[in-house]
């Protein structure tokens, strides 16, 4: 009965919506291109704030374009990703306004909170003037209605998981949503630019926003110009809502909640890297901190679009040893190539679309992943560089990725990770002093615990600046690695005391920094994702009791209070007695000096 009624209601609603469209469109009420003055005012704002990326002619080809990914929108095409309108249609002014106001997270599109509402409207009019589509009433669609999200019950999430499997979401987004589906490495947008699949477990990176309403909108309208389709026709509204709940359940926060320090917890247990279960149990007890990673853009080998934007880290220690565990997401395991912190990257790395020919526009997108750096043979049409030789995925690899001819050749460079510590700590009581966070400097070297994930063992290097990174064997660092469903896990272990490097004493703040290389993104050497200096704090092995100081504070305050009460009352009594003796009475009690 209920279902029937609902269907009926939906039919009426559809009819009503159709009627609205029929009435509205011929009047072309939605075509609002603003006045000449508004567009002129919009141009002023656009030229100052937008043209550097979107191009002064709106073609998405500004100064920054070769060095950002995803590419800035080309306004001449009339293709927009984030819309409330049906697939293929133009966005509403409110859709455009939303992106201008808050931006698209983890892309080069920032929010513009300082622009006034009128300025934004004028910019919208000006942006619309770049594409003739906005004059065509047929390109306008009614915005979809976004229903109130369903409650995230277990049943709803389970139903959403079924929909996720049925609709093949995992092909791109991966089995558990880490953006590591078999097709992920092959995806391009309608301009042929490589495009990164959303990591559904990290909601804060969703380009279209992290709320359930945002997610529903993306399913229901698709992202025009990208492989992300609309499910408006293939999925009932309710199923889309269940899918929203499932996708939402894959992450646990709208915010990355970046931290600044790892707390290393003490354990009596031995740390055995080969005993996975015990190791997992040890780390279960240690808090996890997420740290932001950004591209290394200070030294040659500048990395403008690092694949990995954050890393999670934990630490445990016992009497003799300390262990670190780091985790990050990567769309595929590149374990066939080479990598090292000191691998040379050309001064002007053509992978970044920069260099002498950056000014002529042709083919920037084509050589996105190509390498013209000089140390390797040029590979003209080859998206991912090297197609021969040490190519793990080249022949058998096609099966691995499912799609026979779309499968990319193997990466020339392998995934890798490094922890970085100062080689020595500044003596207690001296001013703050650390090595340069980019591989140290000549006076203050750093130690790198580097793991090339092709080999899965830790190599130690001593860095005295980017030009001076030497292998060292002063300390033995062990490591185990694993790749599972789009996530790398690397666990390191070393003796706490060191003869040549930093020792991890109890209750010590030790600076540390991270580097991650994604071979797929041709990251190697100084072309890497890195972090600033953070800290690891070795928690005291014996935790001080907390009850005692709390009770002590309460008792001290109480005793003080009682003392005051006692003194005041005694004084009053004495005074009363004194007054009686003097034979006078005071109307009010005189205040004693306390």
């Amino acid at each position: 009965m209920a279902a029937h009624a609902r269907r009926r209601a939906r039919r009426i609603a559809t009819f009503a919506a159709a009627a609205v469209v029929l009435v509205a469109l011929p009047a072309s009420a939605q075509v609002d291109l603003g006045t000449e003055e508004q567009r002129a005012a919009g141009k002023v704002v656009y030229d100052k704030y937008c043209g550097q990326c979107h191009g002064d002619t709106g073609d998405g080809n500004g100064y920054a374009t070769p060095r950002v990914k995803p590419k800035p929108r080309d306004f001449t095409t009339g293709t927009y990703k984030f819309r409330t309108t049906p697939n293929g249609m133009l966005p509403t002014d409110d859709d455009l306004r939303r992106v201008i106001e808050i931006g698209a997270p983890y892309t080069s599109m920032p929010g513009w909170p300082n622009l006034t509402s009128a300025e934004i409207q004028n910019v919208i009019y000006y942006i619309k003037s770049f594409s003739p589509d906005f004059e065509n009433p047929d390109r306008y669609g009614e915005p979809i209605e976004i229903p109130r999200p369903l409650e995230s019950t277990e049943e709803s999430i389970a139903r959403g998981r079924v929909v996720y499997e049925e609709q093949g979401c995992a092909a791109c987004h991966g089995e558990v949503g880490r953006g590591d589906g078999p097709s992920a490495p092959t995806l391009v947008n309608d301009k042929g630019d490589p495009i990164k699949v959303a990591d559904l477990t990290q909601r804060w990176t969703y380009r279209g926003g992290p709320t359930k309403e945002d997610i529903y909108r993306t399913f229901s309208t698709g992202l025009n110009g990208t492989p992300m389709p609309s499910y408006a026709d293939s999925l009932e509204i309710e199923d889309r809502q269940h899918l929203v709940n499932y996708v939402y359940s894959l992450g646990n926060s709208d915010e990355p909640n970046y931290g600044t320090l790892i707390t290393a917890v003490y354990s009596e247990e031995p740390i055995d890297l080969q005993d996975g279960e015990t190791l997992d149990a040890l780390f279960e007890a240690a808090p996890t901190t997420r740290f932001p990673l950004v591209g290394q853009i200070t030294e040659p080998g500048r990395n403008f679009f690092p694949s990995v934007t954050s890393i999670e880290a934990q630490a445990v220690y016992n009497r003799d040893e300390i262990a670190f565990r780091v985790r990050w997401h990567d769309l595929r395991a590149d374990t066939s190539g080479r990598n090292s912190p000191s691998l040379e990257v050309p001064m002007w790395d053509e992978d970044n679309g920069i260099g002498d020919d950056a000014d002529d526009d042709g083919g920037d997108s084509d050589d996105f992943f190509g390498d013209f750096g000089g140390e390797e043979a040029p590979a003209e049409d080859d998206f991912f560089g090297d197609s021969g030789g040490d190519d793990f995925f080249g022949d058998g690899g096609d099966d691995f990725f499912g799609a026979a001819d779309a499968g990319p050749p193997g990466a020339e460079f392998s995934d890798a990770v490094a922890l970085q510590f100062p080689a020595s700590l500044a003596p207690e009581g001296t001013p703050e002093l650390k090595p340069y966070f980019l591989y140290g400097d000549s006076q203050n070297p750093v130690d790198l615990w580097f793991v090339n994930l092709t080999y899965g063992v830790a190599d130690t290097f001593r860095g005295r600046g980017s030009e001076s990174i030497e292998p060292t064997e002063a300390d033995i660092v062990e490591a185990v690695t694993s790749y599972d469903q789009g996530e790398w896990t690397v666990t390191y272990k070393r003796r706490r005391s060191s003869r040549a490097g930093v020792s991890f004493a109890e209750q010590q703040y030790t600076p540390l920094a991270f580097s991650v290389w994604d071979g797929f993104n041709r990251e190697r050497g100084n072309k890497r994702a890195l972090s600033s200096w953070f800290y690891v704090y070795t928690e005291p092995s014996v935790q001080p009791a907390t009850t005692f100081p709390i009770v002590r504070a309460a008792i001290i305050v109480l005793l003080l209070e009682l003392l005051v009460v006692f003194l005041v009352r005694r004084r009053a009594r004495q005074q009363a007695a004194g007054d009686e003796a003097a034979g006078t009475t005071l109307a009010t009690t005189e205040a004693p000096a306390v």
Binding site: K48, Y49, Q52, C53, Y63, A64, T107, S108, P110, N114, Y258, T260, L261, T263, P292, L293, V294, G295, I297, T298, P300, F304, I354, P431, E432, L433, K434, Y436, F437, D441, N444, Y509, S532, W533, F534, Y535, Y537, T546, P549, I550, V551, R552, A553, A554, I555, I556, V557, L558, E561, L562, V564, V565, V568, R569, A572, T589, E590, A591, P592, A593
Partner: protein, 272 residues
């Protein structure tokens, strides 16, 4: 506005107004002053101020209030009278008992909260605009920091067209190199800024570009983090030494552009 959390400030002021209207007694005023100051420090600023600073201010204020209250015999007796009445008069017995329990509980909670503050990385002092050297060498040319000026600035009046060309070149350099950290709108809030410590310079800020000579900005651009003295914590800053990547002209052009974009002029020579 002014970096203040306005609703909090308004509420605090309103409470003060009510107290004035009700002709509150001296003790209430003293308590109000201290608690309002505490609340202002804790909740009144958009960007939290360091705990240690707040503690110093509150300590000094507390002392001042005690001095004020005990400055004369009359004022002292006026101040403590409500307390004495609370302790002595039988009708306040319940309130007294409540206070006797509440204060130790507050103290206990304070200690508990202190023990449970999440660990933070140790802080450190950093000089934001450390003194520049007296001279530096950029691309084999010696730049006298005291007298050097942006060589293209005068075109603004002498040759606006040429000035425009230098600006446009500066715009190109900025958006090819700088905006990842310093931001599209130059608010120091580029897409990599969240991962950096110290955060990139905010060029919109009236306390940054306008108080600096263009030679200082040139020094920061050319020498970057590695050229900072120790007080500027060069090991933490991501600012590249742009002389490695850019020509001298490009560096002066981008210098010109960041001033022009924000509508500022460099501090003139000899101006203090």
């Amino acid at each position: 506005m002014l970096g203040l959390n306005l609703p909090v400030v308004i509420v605090l002021a309103a409470i003060g107004g009510v107290l004035a209207w009700r002709r509150a007694n001296t003790l209430t005023w003293l308590l109000y002053t201290w608690v309002a100051l505490w609340a202002f420090f804790k909740y009144g600023f958009a960007v939290p101020i360091p705990q240690s600073v707040a503690t110093i201010y509150l300590g000094i204020t507390g002392l001042a209030l005690v001095c004020f209250a005990s400055s004369s015999r009359e004022r002292l007796s006026e101040t403590v009278q409500p307390i004495v009445r609370l302790i002595l008069e039988p009708r306040y017995r319940l309130a007294l008992a409540g206070l006797l329990v509440a204060l130790p509980a507050l103290a206990a909670y304070n200690v508990y909260a202190d023990l449970n503050v999440p660990l933070e990385a140790p802080g450190f002092g950093r000089e934001v605009h450390p003194p520049p050297p007296t001279e530096m060498t950029v691309h084999d040319e010696t730049v006298d920091m005291a007298t050097a000026e942006n060589p293209y600035l005068h075109y603004k009046h002498d040759d606006p067209e040429l000035y425009g060309e230098h600006l446009e070149n500066g715009r190109r350099v900025y958006y090819e190199n700088c905006f990842w950290c310093h931001g599209d709108g130059m608010g120091g809030d580029g897409m990599f800024a969240h991962g950096l410590n110290p955060v990139p310079s905010n060029f919109n800020d009236v306390g940054t570009l306008p108080i600096l000579q263009s030679s200082f900005v040139h020094w920061r651009i050319a020498k970057g983090a590695p050229g900072l003295p120790g007080a500027g914590t060069p090991w933490d800053s991501m600012m590249p030494a742009w002389e490695k990547f850019l020509t001298t002209e490009e560096m002066w052009d981008v210098n010109l552009f960041i001033y022009d974009f924000n509508g500022y002029e460099p501090r003139a020579l000899g101006q203090h």
